[in-house]
């Protein structure tokens, strides 16, 4: 028995080696670059410089928060309504919601330019109605729209999964206890769906806060978000690797903190439900 156990533990060895080299070591590389200068000498200068990027950090977090909230507001009712229809149509709609994720997101985002541009589809249509052109592209709204659009499926999927697994008897019990449907939603369904909401929020927030494509294409390239700054600095070459690593490191810590908070939140509630 022991021998067998040793054997099955051994089959994971390639993975351990892999994870050590390609998951753990790269993180140390990033830390190494953060605390050294171009010549590999220890320095804190990169960390000290980060003040310059506080606006970028602020904007990224703000936009990511707003788009995560909007995504949630759109996704929750969708997921809820989906659980109310026939199982076969549920599956079809789920497929349709997830399907755009298989398409290249660069192309999908780029298409929005055609829709939103001053000479684009919406404004051409408005022009035909005799209404003045609206400034849609290159605005904060366009960036948030892009984020919501690209990451919506990540929110719908986990919420739907949780909602569809809620035990029907729970709802019946709530009915028996005299809850109306709004109370049922607030007291029973929503608390039960929190783990799904939490993972949806992280799955939308993380890519939003670190994106560098949406802001460039839909935001007119005029402001730099954290993702843009990292991409730009890395493309400038080795002279800027150290600063860029420092920004990435801070971004990573920020994201991991967020995750920790969200995890605690969802786990805590799960326990609450059990009790």
């Amino acid at each position: 028995m022991n021998k067998k156990r040793f054997g099955s533990r051994l089959v994971a060895a390639p993975y351990y080696v892999w994870a050590a080299i390609f998951i753990i070591v790269p993180l140390f590389m990033m830390i190494y670059y953060t605390f050294t200068d171009v010549n590999g000498v220890f320095t804190l200068a990169n960390i000290m410089q980060l003040g310059r990027f506080k606006k970028a950090f602020g904007l990224s977090i703000l936009y990511a928060l707003i788009s995560t909230i909007i995504t949630f507001i759109i996704a929750y009712p969708l997921a809820y309504f989906m659980t109310k229809i026939k199982i076969s149509s549920q599956r079809l709609i789920l497929l349709l919601v997830v399907f755009p994720m298989w398409m290249n997101f660069l192309i999908r985002t780029y298409s929005w330019i055609t829709i939103l541009a001053n000479t684009g589809i919406i404004n051409t249509f408005l022009g035909k109605l005799g209404l003045g052109p609206l400034q849609l592209i290159n605005t904060p709204g366009a960036v948030i729209l892009g984020m919501v659009y690209d990451f919506l499926p990540y929110m719908v999927l986990p919420i739907y999964t949780v909602l569809s697994k809620i035990d029907k008897s729970m709802l019946e019990a709530a009915d028996d206890l005299g809850c109306n449907s709004l109370q049922k939603l607030r007291r029973v369904i929503f608390p039960l769906s929190l783990p799904g909401v939490a993972s949806g929020i992280t799955m939308v927030f993380v890519p939003s806060v670190s994106t560098f494509y949406i802001t460039q294409k839909l935001g007119g390239n005029k402001t730099m978000f954290v993702g843009d700054a990292i991409e730009y600095l890395f493309n400038l070459g080795p002279d800027f690797y150290n600063v860029a690593s420092a920004i990435s490191l801070v971004l990573m810590v920020l994201i991991l903190l967020c995750m920790a908070v969200m995890n605690r939140f969802s786990e805590g509630d799960e326990e609450g439900v059990i009790i």
Binding site: G7, W102, V206
Partner: protein, 267 residues
């Protein structure tokens, strides 16, 4: 209420598919613009055949997706078996946290940290080029592995351990026991892990962007294109991919529906 919810779902779907509709429409544009639609034509589908850089990139993308999905499925399945066999809880949770890192981290951070690793050791080894086919492949396997592990592990946990013991008692070697008794019962997890790895790899842009060197995949070529003028042939290619995946998904869905109906009938 019912009607309201239907309208709501329809509106969201409209929102999700509007840009895709625009893409499909403009792939049939007769002029080279993705802004102004002139006439219907199939010129850009023909043009696509001459666009060697895009077709090469497609080839690269498919090669990387297939290889990385296969390798990460094999390594990841083995890893799940090994991790479950770990006795110490601390080691187990340590391994799982490490596994979760690429899953939770922002793509840009994963991509950059891998790039730093490749470049640093490339220089150390005095290589002429440290980024290319191997490094994208390694990067893709790295971010695929957690997904494979997370879809195989739950199935493996559900599998009764007496199953493999029974096989051993019947005179199987441990390897035979695994392949004959355990593997069939976790095959659905392995399959979904493989599919997930494949699609993630197919669609990855950010991590490839930092690790691919001149082994450019399709998303990279499209990104470079959107920095210039996007011509409708990129839309044409995307439309073709769209139709292929759509048909495959619908087929998969109907097959599943049928089998679930059958299962229900059995019960």
């Amino acid at each position: 209420m019912k009607i309201f919810s239907k309208i709501y779902i329809a509106l969201i779907l409209l929102f999700l598919y509007a840009p895709i509709a625009v893409m499909v429409l403009f792939s049939f544009n007769s002029s080279g613009s993705v802004w102004v639609f002139e006439n219907f034509s199939l010129d850009w589908y023909k043009e696509l055949l001459f666009n060697t850089s895009m077709l090469n990139a497609l080839k690269h993308t498919i090669i990387i997706a297939v290889l990385s999905a296969i390798i990460s499925t094999v390594v990841g399945t083995a890893a799940s078996v090994g991790i479950l066999a770990l006795r110490k809880k601390v080691t187990k949770s340590l391994v799982m946290s490490a596994t979760n890192i690429p899953l939770m981290n922002a793509d840009i951070v994963t991509g950059i940290s891998l790039m730093l690793l490749f470049v640093f050791f490339g220089k150390l080894l005095g290589l002429h080029e440290s980024l290319g086919f191997i490094t994208v492949l390694v990067a893709h396997i790295t971010f695929n592995l957690p997904y494979v592990i997370l879809s195989v592990m739950p199935k493996l946990k559900q599998t009764d351990s007496s199953l493999s013991e029974a096989a051993l008692d019947l005179g199987c070697t441990p390897l035979q026991a695994f392949f004959k008794a355990v593997l069939p019962s976790i095959s659905s997890g392995i399959f979904s892990g493989f599919i997930m790895a494949f699609t993630l790899s197919l669609d990855d842009f950010v991590i490839s962007y930092f690790t691919c060197g001149h082994y450019q995949t399709l998303p990279i070529v499209i990104y470079n294109m959107t920095k210039k003028t996007v011509t409708p042939d990129a839309y044409a290619l995307s439309t073709i991919i769209f139709v292929v995946i759509f048909v495959l998904l619908i087929l998969y869905n109907t097959v599943q529906n049928k089998s679930s109906v059958k299962e229900a009938a059995k019960i």
